[in-house]
């Protein structure tokens, strides 16, 4: 346990030194706040551009608040996810170059606490950023467009956090065998593939964690999705990834790369 805290503090310090605690939440907050403002002014902006016949312009209206929040989530799944994964890509792979691995690896028992600490640090950043961005978006939406209900909003947020979390966790095992950027792109690619598969074959992949983002959107727009299987499998997925990362690190000691 004490090993965990040592590594956790080290991860936190490193994140603070590279300003991650400022810029990642700031990006999420910006994405979240800009979306409702943009949707709110979109009809006006289109009108002012003047190229649209008035009949067509009348069709463009401000969507209901739930849809605006859902579109914020889809912003988070492109730019937000990219930012999270890219900012996490060097947590394991970076240990090669800065030498922590050499200190830690001779004592195998300390690899698992190190991994868990890295994971916990990543999750803290993820949750803080997402909650800030989501709350900002919800606040702007409710001020500009209309009130949102708490229940679906919180449910959707929880499922969405699970979705972001399992994808970001993929970086740990991949980072143990690959360089940082390669790990990041494979993680993003496999996440995209799983998510697309889950939406193509929904009946076969009930349990797939790739469904979580769709479930979050469905939660918002008024469905009552049965979502325990994907949520549970996302948690299992994260545990497996962390353990796999530990085993891979043990088997393939991190050699300093040129």
């Amino acid at each position: 346990m004490s090993m965990f805290w040592i590594h956790f503090k080290k991860e936190m310090l490193e994140a603070a030194r590279s300003y991650k605690w400022i810029w990642v939440p700031a990006v999420f907050l910006l994405l979240g706040v800009m979306q409702p403002v943009m949707m709110y002014y979109l009809p006006d902006i289109l009108m002012m551009s003047g190229d649209i016949p008035p009949e067509a312009a009348a069709l463009i209206t401000v969507p209901p608040p739930e849809e605006i929040l859902a579109s914020t989530l889809s912003q988070f799944s492109t730019i937000g996810l990219l930012v999270l994964v890219l900012s996490a890509m060097n947590t394991v792979a970076g240990e090669r170059s800065n030498g922590t691995a050499e200190l830690v690896l001779p004592r195998i028992s300390s690899v698992l606490p190190m991994m868990i600490a890295k994971w916990a640090a990543m999750m803290s950043l993820l949750i803080l950023s997402f909650v800030l961005g989501y709350a900002g978006s919800a606040y702007y939406t409710s001020q500009l467009i209309g009130t949102l209900e708490w229940g679906p909003m919180l449910g959707a947020g929880a499922f969405y956090i699970a979705w972001l979390a399992w994808i970001v966790t993929l970086v740990l095992p991949l980072g143990a065998v690959l360089r940082g950027p390669a790990a990041a792109f494979i993680a993003l690619g496999s996440a995209a593939a799983l998510t697309m598969l889950a939406s193509l074959l929904p009946s076969h992949l009930q349990w797939s964690p790739g469904r979580l983002s769709a479930i979050a959107t469905e939660c918002l727009t008024g469905g009552d999705p049965s979502a325990w299987a994907p949520a549970v499998s996302a948690v299992c997925f994260m545990a497996l990834s962390t353990i796999a990362a530990t085993l891979l690190l043990k088997r393939r000691p991190l050699l300093p790369q040129a």
Partner: protein, 64 residues
């Protein structure tokens, strides 16, 4: 069209925070730690809005 500046200024302020953080990080870093010349990154951060700062934080620094 009436623009409600109360809505817009938090967005501008956040962008400013992001850009200032990136610039502070850039000035504190040693020249060897930065990929490419520093003045290039100053331009990218100032002209590239959100994406400029994000690009600097992700790609601008070599792993220590």
């Amino acid at each position: 069209m009436e623009i409600n500046w109360g809505l817009i200024w938090p967005i501008i302020a956040l962008q400013a925070v992001l850009a200032v953080t990136a610039l502070v990080s850039l000035t504190k870093a040693e020249t060897e730690q930065i990929r490419g010349p520093k003045w290039m990154w100053v331009l990218i951060i100032l002209l590239g809005n959100i994406l400029g700062s994000v690009a600097y934080f992700i790609g601008g620094r070599r792993a220590s």
